[in-house]
């Protein structure tokens, strides 16, 4: 789909440029005659092709309804969109925007929410015990 969209965009741009150039040349040469029909047709066709290409290459639409948007996120989780930072970390799609409240891991749970209150000693201890137990 992406290749088709890019091809349509390229062709459309080419025709558009050509139509505009032809118009310029025509008006420069015959200042007082109307524009020939083929230039008009080329211009309109190029705009149609370009519009189709832009629509096809646009990213996937997100659900408008809150519940559907949240549900989709819950089902699919976060996934990469094919972009990486300079450090080699993949940029993921958006996730649960309320995860920072840390309310999904139970009372006194060990989630990563509420970063301001991150208990570094408990996490260190948990890790050290995991290593002691064989690291599996």
């Amino acid at each position: 789909m992406a290749i088709l969209g890019t091809a349509l965009n390229a062709v459309g741009l080419l025709f558009l440029t050509h139509a505009v150039y032809s118009t310029h040349e025509h008006t420069a040469t015959f200042a007082h005659t109307p524009l020939p029909l083929d230039i008009t047709i080329e211009l309109l066709t190029s705009i149609l092709i370009l519009s189709a290409g832009i629509v096809i290459t646009s990213p996937e639409l997100r659900p408008i309804k809150w519940a559907q948007w949240a549900g989709k996120m819950q089902r699919q989780g976060r996934k990469g969109e094919g972009k990486w930072t300079r450090e080699g970390e993949e940029i993921l799609s958006e996730g649960d925007s309320f995860a920072f409240l840390g309310l999904d891991s139970g009372i006194g749970g060990g989630g990563e929410g509420r970063r301001g209150f991150w208990d570094v000693r408990a996490k260190r201890k948990e890790y050290a015990e995991w290593v002691k137990a064989g690291g599996k």
Partner: protein, 322 residues
């Protein structure tokens, strides 16, 4: 699903993931994001992006978690030279580093005193205030932590993170009323947070698992949470559990319920609608279990333990649809 991502770490980090995360330290430390050129040129040839420092911060935390203190020190030095030693965030991160290296409670108390001194100079430094509360909690001084949190919340009553933390502390001590109140404050600021609704419902359910009033409050909040998120496993699980408990209560005590309705400001739900909600939850839970079990790609993000627990709940009910 991408497990070890430093830019957006998962909501639950197992020791294994923490190890994977902190093993990225040499790679990231080998390339410097800040240029060594003098000022006007450094603006042109800067290699840093908005994500750079998020990654550094997450790397610092995972390095501290796995005991890689030398890398942590290097990252911290790099961030300090970039943002300055008096930056609020840097002060807090340095505090975390000192906390991690503290060998016993005595040294940790010294870190806590250091936070006190920082707060004397700048009482508005919320990040350091939160660190102090975290240390108090880590030292087992829960009452002190609660008092400090109350001071913090008196000064910034829209800090939802702090309200959630206070609610968690109260709940851990069994003070259900206060815990529910705190989470209702969270809901005032973020009425769309489905996790907060589910947590309020859970607290209502835990506070009095057999009283009609708290069960119907739990039902209401669970229903709201699934209204906000159509695939919220925890919401549907709670909805089914609460509805199962409510149905016998409602059917045997119709007369009592009417009397209670005058005392409570909200009347209990109708038996019929509770039954309908239970059916809805059962259907949705069965769908989630089925789709997750068949390994469909768009349904892979559920927690496996949660799905197993759901399966057990459905099996207990004896109405599992396969």
């Amino acid at each position: 699903m991408v497990a070890a991502n430093l830019l957006s770490p998962p909501p639950q980090i197992s020791p294994q993931t923490a190890l994977q995360l902190s093993q990225k330290a040499p790679l990231i430390l080998s390339q410097s994001p800040t240029p060594s050129l003098p000022w006007p040129l450094s603006l042109l040839f800067s290699r840093e992006t908005p994500e750079t420092w998020t990654i550094h911060e997450n790397l610092l935390l995972s390095a501290l978690r796995t005991g890689d203190d030398t890398s942590a020190r290097q990252i911290l030095d790099r961030m300090t030279s970039r943002f300055g030693a008096s930056n609020e965030r840097i002060i807090a991160l340095r505090g975390i580093y000192e906390e991690a290296l503290a060998k016993d409670d005595k040294e940790l108390t010294r870190v806590l005193d250091g936070y006190g001194k920082v707060l004397e100079v700048d009482p508005t430094n919320t990040l350091v205030r939160k660190r102090g509360i975290a240390v108090q909690k880590s030292l087992g001084r829960t009452q002190d932590a609660i008092t400090s949190l109350k001071v913090l919340l008196e000064n910034s009553p829209t800090d939802v993170e702090a309200w959630a933390e206070l609610s968690d502390m109260y709940a851990a001590n069994g003070a259900w009323g206060q815990a529910i109140y705190c989470l209702e404050e969270v809901l005032l600021v973020m009425p769309n947070a489905w996790t907060a609704h589910a947590q309020v419902a859970t607290l209502h359910y835990l506070s009095a698992p057999s009283s009609l009033h708290s069960l119907s409050m739990a039902l209401r909040h669970f229903a709201r949470s699934v209204e906000l998120n159509e695939s919220y496993l925890r919401g549907y699980y709670g909805l089914k559990l609460v509805a199962q408990k409510l149905i016998p209560l409602l059917s045997e005590s119709t007369a009592v319920a009417k009397k209670n309705a005058e005392e409570d400001d909200i009347p209990p739900p109708k038996l019929q609608s509770v039954k309908k909600l239970e059916e809805l939850a059962t259907g949705k839970l069965a769908e989630i279990v089925r789709q997750y079990g068949s390994g469909k790609k768009g349904w892979a993000a559920f927690d496996e333990a949660e799905v197993i627990a759901t399966k057990e709940l459905l099996d207990r009910d004896g109405r599992v649809e396969r």
